[in-house]
Chain length 345, copies 2
DNA sequence: CCGTGGGGTGTAAGCGCTTACAGGGTTGCC
DNA sequence: GGCAACCCTGTAAGCGCTTACACCCCACGG
């Protein structure tokens, strides 16, 4: 047989078509809508595909079909155990559904997040996953105008936010934990919050604590909130600041587990007994929470489930060309461990 | 002026060209090679771009230019603190260079990694970041045939592996730490290794320990290696298994910090004094290492630097259409903390 | 036995961009 | 003053795929 020397570079649809003796349209249909092609033809085409090791060029496919099978996600940071598990599950589930994950991080900076949104949109992401509701109007308009299905995760807004979401009610969850703390007899509370500017999750958590404090008729002076950046060290420093006050709190509630572990370490260095002299709580229930001593009282969040379902929701929205979908509220639960005890004396 | 009603959907190159009164080629040049266009023209075009809020369609651009400005990375898991920091730095640096990160995870499964490599290649990734050297020939051939610049990170192979790499010599690093342990008088060593099948990093680390043990003329029986999956719990279980042996080791070296922290916790539960009764070491120096009590003796790896430089190397390879580049060995150092002490008795 | 309908396949026109090549206007130098 | 050289811009041909539409053929019913 004449040695049709294989052309350089990866083979294209046309090569497959020639080898199988059909038109490119048929090959395309075999790949995208197999049931619209006669079984016999399909077999022949598939053999050609296998023989050539053909894989479609995604750029061309995306251009022609106006769909990239790509989902973009913008998270504050990948370094953070808080997002890692959820995003891992999200990516796995996207893979299941033949989507690929394009990822960017905003470093908790609103301006950078906006830039990343525009980048991922320009890259043709079929859908976008964002964290939290807080966002400029300009960004929301952009998303709407470009018809990009967008889902918010790690937050659930019962008040009907503009974008659909999957997550939990941060305020309610934190209020529940705060009531638990108050029930332990604590009447002077300290709060170490993540920075609330542009971070609705942090804001809502603090609001939850304030709500519970108000219910319990705590004096305003008996609830001190300090804000700090994300990190162990910053959490430790914030804790010290709280404890250095004239009338230090008997319980310090932290906006997340990382801050709480920082506080816990600072307490150790200061020689404070936990929970004997001061109680500490976190939020998220990352793996670390059970590794510290004493183990951390915190709020458990079903991160993997959230990631997995977020993927399904987003793929559904993309498939049906819907910009919206029903939001999902996930249950969270208070996990009582060693760092919360009765108020001293 | 006649209200040229704006067309639906995002504007295209042609719209910009029309508005600026130039050809599409000129607009394209303004965007990709500004210095090949008269400043006056450029200004006019840029104004049109701004006015229309034009952003190029990446699929079309990728198709025409045969470049996607996308880099793919396949890591064992994102859940793992070990990769999180490096990948975060990698992504930030890619962003700096106008590349976007396409990410997938292999869950430490070789077959899945291969599938992901093919997927990301089909997506047109300009370059690929992989972890570790171990890989089927078939995969290496594929990468070479497709001319996809590929960089291996988290490993450095002095023996001139097929793919360029950035990382450290796992065997040498672990040997150094093992010598330190032996210098503390330990003569019965236990090793908790990550699974070595398809994981050259894990294999090299164990090899390093064996090398140091041989140098110190340790009896074969005095070095016991157990393998286990990645995780705190599995690390704890492996540690228990080692300590339940007739002549338990006086020092347990773990393949990574996560396993070591698991071991540390198991030791606590077993009532073993650390390092009084048994010493424990890790590898990676993740944040957690300093948070446990006592803090973990381990090997510090410059994760952020590795991620950043990996991005630069890969972008360089892509820009120059090189499949190879000089490998870079990063320095690692033993960090002596509380979990390593003199051998008991 | 012919008209109808419908399923399978082919033809060809894009999708929005890049870029080789050509063309025209300047400039500089002889 | 004329010619070469150069710089800037435009023309148009793809990049590899999807898909609307046309076409053909066969089964079926009247």
């Amino acid at each position: 047989m004449t040695a049709e020397r294989p052309k350089p570079g990866p083979s294209k649809l046309e090569d497959v078509a020639r080898l199988a003796g059909v038109s490119t349209a048929t090959v395309s249909r075999c790949l995208n809508a197999p049931d619209r092609v006669l079984p016999a033809t399909r077999t022949r085409v598939m053999e050609a595909v296998a023989q050539l090791g053909y894989a479609p060029n995604s750029s061309a496919r995306a251009l022609a079909a106006r769909q990239t099978f790509t989902i973009g996600a913008i998270i504050p940071t990948m370094e953070n155990a808080i997002f890692a598990r959820g995003i891992q599950a999200f990516q796995e589930q996207l893979g299941e559904r033949s989507y690929t994950l394009l990822i960017a991080s905003s470093s908790y900076r609103e301006g950078l997040e906006e830039a990343q949104i525009r980048t991922l949109a320009a890259r043709g992401s079929d859908g976008l996953l964002l964290i939290g509701h807080h966002r400029q109007d300009r960004v929301r308009t952009f998303l709407r105008d470009r018809h990009i299905p967008t889902l918010v995760a790690w937050a659930y807004d019962p008040g009907g936010a503009e974008l659909p979401s999957i997550g939990f009610d941060n305020a309610r969850a934190m209020a529940t934990l705060a009531r638990e703390v108050l029930a332990h007899g604590h009447r002077r509370l300290g709060v170490v919050s993540a920075e609330t500017a542009g971070n609705d999750r942090a804001r809502d958590r603090v609001a939850g604590i304030r709500r519970a404090a108000a219910e319990a008729r705590l004096a305003v002076d008996d609830l001190t909130v300090v804000e700090t950046q994300y990190g162990f060290e910053t959490g430790a420093a914030a804790f010290r600041r709280l404890m250095d006050r004239p009338r230090p709190p008997t319980a310090v509630m932290c906006g997340n587990d990382v801050l709480a572990v920082g506080a816990l370490r600072a307490a150790g260095q200061m020689g404070l007994a936990i929970p004997g002299e001061v109680s500490i709580t976190g939020f998220d229930d990352i793996e670390l929470a059970t590794l510290v001593d004493p183990p951390l009282t915190t709020i458990h969040v079903p991160h993997r489930e959230m990631g997995r379902r977020a993927a399904d929701m987003l793929v559904g929205m993309v498939a049906d060309k819907r910009l919206s979908t029903d939001s999902i509220e996930l249950g969270v639960e208070v996990v009582l461990r060693g760092t919360l005890g009765p108020a001293p004396g």
